[in-house]
């Protein structure tokens, strides 16, 4: 409750500060507010607070863990991209939209009722449509916003129809009631159709292989800083909701649908990694890389009945940090070269800005899953659970595609090491430099802290 109230008041407060001409206090206000949210979720830990006793939203440890992860990722995102906001005329609108989207993220990881799931998804999605299209004069941003809006609306509607059908079969929107019906009576035609439609809607939202077409387009077209948010906070919230659905509600169906999950996870890994190798645009490459990580996280959802949710939290946090760093570096690199996003834009980055080059290298290697970095442990947790389930072929695909991923991540790293004539330094703000350093340290430190997960 506190977390939701603080964040939504923060969004309104940002708007109020804008009207009252207190613009220079907005950033400190947001930092203090988001830290307060993390503090509140530590205070609430283990309380299982049930909002107004209506069983719509329950702030259990799962919800609080994801709440603080989403909050920290958003905070890191804001602190590393302050220079983007100082250039923008309508920056307070962007801040407020991000904060309201974050509220949607909280609802998505704390719902116990399908109505709240839908409302949370919409609270998150509608600001994101605006943010994707926020570069008004840029045709690519327009196209990205348009595609994101229509495919997002399509996905929401499919998910919504699924919810309606599940309600028709069970007579309740409550996850525990649905679980009871599934465990005792099994699933009839309407129930099966409903569950499949909810699954399809989620697959669209998180960008899993046959439904991933919009992801590269939207990620490439949206302003790079916004793409960074989409691949961390939004993706994390979507998977938190997806996992919670199968963790609390549809658990009995997992033994029948696990094979569908496995096929789609394998398909996303293959499609994303093969497509990524032929890309010439680094932003689009990172978009395909995010699809392949969606494949990994889908494999985690597949084992929702036996897996500890903390492992998904670890994956979301680790991937979020790596993705945030890489998109942030890409933003600064392309900003200083008239928006160039090819591999050539990275040439000589080691000389031009060593901090960025180091952070980029660490984040790419973390995403590839190279051992001394946290990405390795995240993938290890998922793979070990898949092996327990006996899906050896999926594990083989995971390992082989990770090897392919190393190839295309190395192309960017090699480009950064290539020397270049008369290139100027790429300057960045203090908060950006400190933020990137902290994120880099976190990527290494979390590898050693993985034992506590």
């Amino acid at each position: 409750m506190k977390e939701l109230v603080i964040t939504s008041l923060l969004g309104i407060g940002v708007l109020a500060f804008d009207i009252l001409k207190l613009r220079k206090f907005i950033l400190p206000l947001i930092v203090v507010g988001l830290l307060a949210v993390v503090g509140a979720s530590i205070v609430d830990w283990g309380m299982n607070e049930n909002l107004f006793g209506k069983n719509m939203i329950i702030m259990d440890n799962y919800a609080l863990g994801f709440t603080s992860i989403l909050c920290l990722l958003t905070l890191a995102w804001i602190l590393t991209s302050t220079d983007y906001f100082t250039n923008e005329i309508s920056r307070t609108d962007l801040y407020a939209l991000v904060l309201f989207a974050l509220c949607g993220g909280y609802v998505m990881c704390s719902y116990t009722n399908l109505v709240m799931l839908f409302i949370g998804i919409e609270i998150l999605s509608i600001p994101m449509y605006v943010l994707a299209a926020s570069n008004k004069r840029d045709m690519l941003s327009n196209e990205a916003g348009f595609k994101y809006f229509f495919l997002g609306a399509l996905a929401s509607s499919i998910l919504l129809f699924g919810i309606a059908l599940v309600y028709g079969a069970t007579g309740s929107f409550q996850l525990d009631a649905i679980k009871n019906v599934l465990a005792t009576a099994g699933s009839g035609t309407i129930m099966t159709a409903g569950i499949l439609m909810i699954f399809t809607g989620f697959a669209f939202k998180v960008g899993i292989a046959p439904f991933h077409m919009w992801t590269p387009d939207v990620y490439q077209g949206a302003p790079t800083v916004i793409t960074g948010l989409m691949s961390t906070m939004v993706k994390g919230a979507a998977f938190a909701a997806f996992f919670r659905l199968y963790y609390l509600g549809f658990t009995p169906t997992l033994e029948f649908t696990a094979s569908i999950f496995a096929v789609l996870a394998g398909l996303s890994l293959i499609v994303a990694n093969v497509m990524a190798t032929i890309q010439v645009n680094a932003k689009r490459l990172l978009a395909y890389s995010s699809i392949s990580h969606a494949g990994f996280m889908l494999a985690a959802v597949m084992t929702a009945d036996s897996m500890n949710p903390r492992m998904l939290m670890y994956y979301v946090l680790v991937y979020g940090i790596a993705s945030l760093t890489s998109f942030n570096v890409l933003y600064h690199v392309s900003k200083f070269q008239n928006g160039a996003e090819g591999f050539d834009a990275f040439k000589g980055l080691v000389k031009r800005n060593p901090v960025m080059a180091g952070a980029m290298t660490l984040s790419l290697l973390s995403m590839a899953g190279i051992p001394p970095l946290a990405g390795f442990m995240a993938k290890y947790f998922v793979i070990s659970h898949i092996l327990e389930r006996g899906y050896t072929w999926l594990v083989i695909i995971m390992v082989l595609t990770s090897a392919v991923a190393v190839y295309y991540y190395l192309r960017i790293i090699v480009s950064m090491l290539t020397p270049i004539e008369n290139a100027g330094r790429i300057v960045s703000t203090d908060s950006n430099r400190i933020g990137l350093l902290v994120l880099s340290i976190a990527m290494v430190a979390m590898f050693f802290l993985a034992a506590f997960v």
Partner: protein
């Protein structure tokens, strides 16, 4: 079953009425097309605007402000929908319900103030 059918019979006059209305429209349209003389001139095929000569294209671009006001109207208009279920159980909810609705309306008013301050409703 008998009971249900008698229930349906109450709607028979409505059905008859609908058929008569539909039939009247179709018949008159067919008759006028069939009976009336067909003389097509340029002036006759123009759109009739109370005798004033039409100027320009009807699909000419109009000011973006109309659009903005229309969109804001839709947003604030649809919020009334929450007041219907609230009004039904208003007495059961008591003071709590009243405060909840004040909170909700307060948030809407903050949005309205923001819109006005940002100048979205200025016409000049």
């Amino acid at each position: 079953m008998q009971n249900d059918l008698s229930h349906l019979q109450d709607y028979l006059p409505v059905l008859v009425m609908a058929f008569v209305a539909l039939g009247f429209v179709v018949t008159t349209m067919v008759l006028t097309h069939w009976l009336g003389p067909k003389r097509k001139t340029k002036i006759k095929s123009e759109a009739f605007e109370c005798g004033i000569e039409s100027q320009g294209n009807a699909r000419s671009p109009f000011s973006i402000k109309y659009f903005l006001v229309a969109i804001l109207f839709v947003l604030f208009d649809v919020e009334v929908i929450f007041m219907y279920p609230w009004a039904v159980i208003f007495k059961d909810l008591g003071l709590f319900g009243l405060l909840e609705m004040f909170t909700f309306m307060g948030l809407m008013i903050v949005g309205l103030i923001y819109i006005i301050k940002r100048g979205a409703l200025n016409w000049d």
